[in-house]
């Protein structure tokens, strides 16, 4: 369908739900112009600005870095700000946008992320520095830095968390997002409590609850691999004491220059 030869018109189906008035969620259709470069978020903005101001969604940076606009588009979790609308249209020229699954809906496309942040807090995502902090700087090898890179680029959008089948069943599971951050802290040679972290992660709600379904990898808009991080944590949890001893040894040399290969 086109708009008198201007831009084609496409259908955006949005899941609507207002807990104060609706018994259950329903899909509402809107028509928007498909201009060059339009993203799914642009379409949502267009609808909110010109068609229905009550459509509710989260967004902030529009550059795929804040993680606010993670939603379920055509059944797949992604950041709508970097999702080109044209590429998301089905054969009938429609796109369907729903909130992140398995999380309580606050309104329309906004979900309650409390459990997400609670689990994140649980893994103590901050760095616990050693007692003997170097006077000048921590010296880390390029290999040690590279090991952290996988987790470092996570923007905490929640796409992996809400695509995880275990999260669908229970909110007691720590979740791929928090385990990825825990991985980052465990692998960081500056962190002083890797043993304590691994002991916590080896508990009933930790790494052994992952069923390696790989949904988190598919969902991650940054192309990260939480499953691999979880698998590494499992291996380290099996040899926790040896890892802890190696870390203590490493921390004695944190201020020394890295020997060149």
């Amino acid at each position: 369908m086109s708009n008198n030869g201007a831009y084609p018109i496409v259908t955006v189906r949005i899941q609507r739900f207002n807990p104060d008035t609706d018994k259950k969620p329903y899909l509402q259709e809107f028509q928007v112009e498909l201009k060059p470069g339009t993203t799914v978020l642009d379409a949502l903005h267009e609808i909110k600005a010109h068609q229905d101001g009550s459509v509710t969604f989260r967004r902030s940076c529009r550059h795929a870095i804040c993680g606010s606009c993670a939603m379920n588009v055509n059944g797949k979790n992604e950041l709508v700000c970097k999702a080109p609308l044209k590429e998301r249209l089905d054969r009938k020229g429609r796109v369907t946008i729903r909130p992140l699954p398995y999380l309580p809906i606050v309104k329309d496309l906004v979900v309650d992320r409390s459990s997400f942040w609670e689990q994140y807090q649980r893994v103590k995502p901050w760095l616990v520095p050693p007692e003997n902090i170097p006077e000048k700087e921590f010296r880390m090898s390029p290999e040690e830095v590279a090991a952290l890179r996988n987790a470092e680029t996570c923007i905490m959008c929640g796409a992996c968390y809400s695509s995880c089948q275990i999260i669908a069943l229970t909110k007691e599971y720590i979740g791929p997002h928090a385990l990825l951050k825990a991985f980052m802290r465990v692998m960081d040679p500056r962190d002083a409590i890797p043993g304590e972290r691994l002991a916590d992660l080896a508990g009933g709600d930790g790494v052994y609850r992952c069923r390696t379904i790989f949904n988190c990898i598919d969902a991650c808009p940054k192309g990260l691999n939480p499953t691999e991080a979880i698998e590494t944590l499992r291996k380290l949890a099996q040899k926790r004491q040896a890892f802890e001893a190696a870390r203590a040894e490493r921390q004695k040399r944190l201020s020394e220059p890295i020997p060149s290969p």
Partner: protein, 108 residues
Amino acid sequence: MRVFQMQRISAIALLIFLTIHMIVVHYPPFHINFDIILQRMADPLWKAIDIAFLFFVLVHALAGAYVVLTDVQRFSPLKRVFAGAAIVLGVVAMYYGTVTILAFQPPA
């Protein structure tokens, strides 16, 4: 962690036992008849293999069922009940299976 380890170790053991089972019982590279089966079932080594096979099947199946059930949040208060039930069921099935395997005698 213990259930995870049990699951992984029993899975490796089952790979070996199932391979033997499939080759020996279902797709033997030789002619098989009832006499051969009777001889094998009476052999103490095969009885030991069958008992070990039964053990790993039970461990893997019951640990798997326990894990699947406890993944559901509403069942989490029943974790100890499920663990107890799995142990009791496992012991009973192991006892019954072992007695059956050991009691087999080929007809004279």
